[in-house]
Amino acid sequence: MYRELLALSWPSWRAYRVWQRNLDSYRRYYWASLVGNLGEPFLYLLAMGYGLGSYIGEIEGMSYLQYLAPGLLVSSAMFAATFEGTYGTYLRMAHLKTYEAILATPLTLQDVVLGDLLWATTKGLISGLIMLLVLLPFGLLPSPWALLLPLVLIVVGLLFSALAMVVAALSPNWEFFNYYLTLFISPMFFFSGVFFPLTNFPSWVKGVSAFLPLTYAVALSRALTMGEVSVSLLAPLLWMLLPTLLFGCISLSLIRRRIIK
């Protein structure tokens, strides 16, 4: 594995052609996809923020709706990138043989994997941007620093796309994704500070939470939303970028092992 990681050569700008192919195919069903992207986080916002929020006082000095919004924003990007990175990648790689078809052209596997990674990131970004548009009229983006939130969405998208593509590369069948979604993504959604701070939880929960990448995304998103910006935010940013690079390389290496025979 170590040798394979070193042997990876750089992808080229041709990855853009793969991204374009995915966009062309997305055009055929984007309404259905958008409804899916938007539906769930929006429901959470409405049901928990307004419904539950009216029974809850302030959390960390803000309304519950305000507390919830930044976390749901990054979560929507996480879910969209995750689904595209798992199901979408697997569909093209194992089922439709799209990878095989593209590899017979001047593109290399690096280009194809990077193109798919950027596409899953784009899906995350689209989903997050729609969520931003929803939050705006509610007055839930009080600070001008919120203008930087799309960058956070891109980082979140890259990270969860890379993770998802590792899972897709390992997956023997569609059912395999349930493990990842149920055992990793769902718990993370609840224990990364989206819905409640972890201050009152036992220390081991906090310890686990410190390993969940969404925790850092939520912290970053909340800080920008509320305008509490400082140099210390570079730490969570780094904690997202490093694993992105690592898992990106691992996914490429695993997909190579699976595809190139």
């Binding site: 374009q20 062309d24 195919s25 055929r28 439709l96 043989k97 593209i102 017979a104 190139i260």
Partner: protein
């Protein structure tokens, strides 16, 4: 070894314990059609997958248009059109979009791509279907579209892995005509096939493979004449007569072999043989010219594979 557009020297491909291609060497001449024939598992597909740089070599050397496959896979893939064994058209896209999206992988300008796409849709008689989705096409149409897709970049070399397997005779003959017309335009073609008739129709030379090795390489006519002879007499014999006939053949100068209830006599003087067989009036026999299929079965044996 003569110089050609493709030169392969001692190519080896192993998958773990299995040696799929076992040290083969060959040259493909510019403008010719070379066919790889062989039973399932002979290593044909593995060989051509190495040529279009999708499957790395385990050992050996492979040059395409003087480019080393290990160092210039992008360049090489840019001049090869590939018709894979399995259809891998893009089901999310229409017929026309399949061609246009594929053209982008070769950095063909949109306008030029559209022009070529319509030209190819006409060439392969698919223009009416241009806005259909892939799932709406018949097997023959899919195959034609995949050939069109391979041609969108105007390849110097066209690689076809079983181009007509599973198609009806009409679809097969249309594809053969198109491939011959491409050959007249100078496109080098490499194909694998199970159909000896296809190889005879299309190929200037054939490489007969078995167990990862090339057993014979040459023009079909020359190989057949050298290995089988000019004529074949098939004798279907009943059990009661079998011993007597075989006894007669043992004592004769004829080359023959048995497969099931049929004896095959290979010869260049069929009339004389027939005359000497006249003493067995109840024989059911067929006298016909020797074909590539005789050669193929002679070299690779008649037992089933897989």
């Amino acid at each position: 070894m003569g110089k050609g557009i493709i030169q392969a020297r001692d190519l080896v491909k192993r998958f773990g314990e299995l040696t799929a291609v076992d040290g083969i060497s060959f040259v493909v001449r510019e403008g010719e059609c070379l066919g790889f024939l062989g039973p399932n598992g002979a290593g044909k597909t593995t060989t051509i997958r190495m040529i279009y740089a999708i499957s790395p070599l385990t050992a050996g050397e492979l040059y395409v248009a003087d480019y080393d496959i290990r160092h210039h896979p992008r360049k090489i893939k840019g001049m090869i059109g590939v018709v894979p064994q399995e259809n891998n058209l893009d089901p999310d896209l229409t017929v026309l979009e399949n061609l246009l999206v594929y053209a982008r992988y070769f950095e063909i300008h949109k306008q030029e791509a559209v022009r070529r796409a319509f030209e190819l849709l006409d060439f392969l008689e698919l223009r009416e279907k241009k806005d259909r989705l892939i799932e709406e096409l018949s097997a023959g149409m899919k195959r034609r579209l995949i050939i069109a897709r391979a041609l969108i970049q105007r390849p110097r070399i066209l690689i076809l892995d079983e181009p007509t397997t599973g198609l009806d005779p009409q679809a097969r003959h249309l594809i053969w005509q198109r491939l011959r017309s491409l050959k007249r335009e100078g496109v080098t073609q490499i194909l694998t096939t199970h159909y000896m008739e296809e190889a005879t129709q299309l190929c200037d030379r054939v490489a007969i493979m078995d167990q990862g090795m090339i057993l014979r390489l040459g023009s079909p006519q020359e190989l057949v004449a050298a290995e089988v002879g000019e004529e074949v007499i098939e004798l279907q014999v009943g059990e009661d007569e079998e011993a007597r006939i075989k006894g007669f053949l043992e004592g004769s100068p004829f080359i023959w072999e048995q497969a099931g209830d049929t004896l095959y006599l290979y010869c260049s003087n069929g009339r004389e043989v027939l005359a000497s067989l006249a003493r067995y009036p109840h024989l059911r026999l067929v006298h016909r010219p020797a074909t590539l299929e005789d050669l193929f079965l002679k070299l690779t044996g008649r037992r089933l594979r897989e």
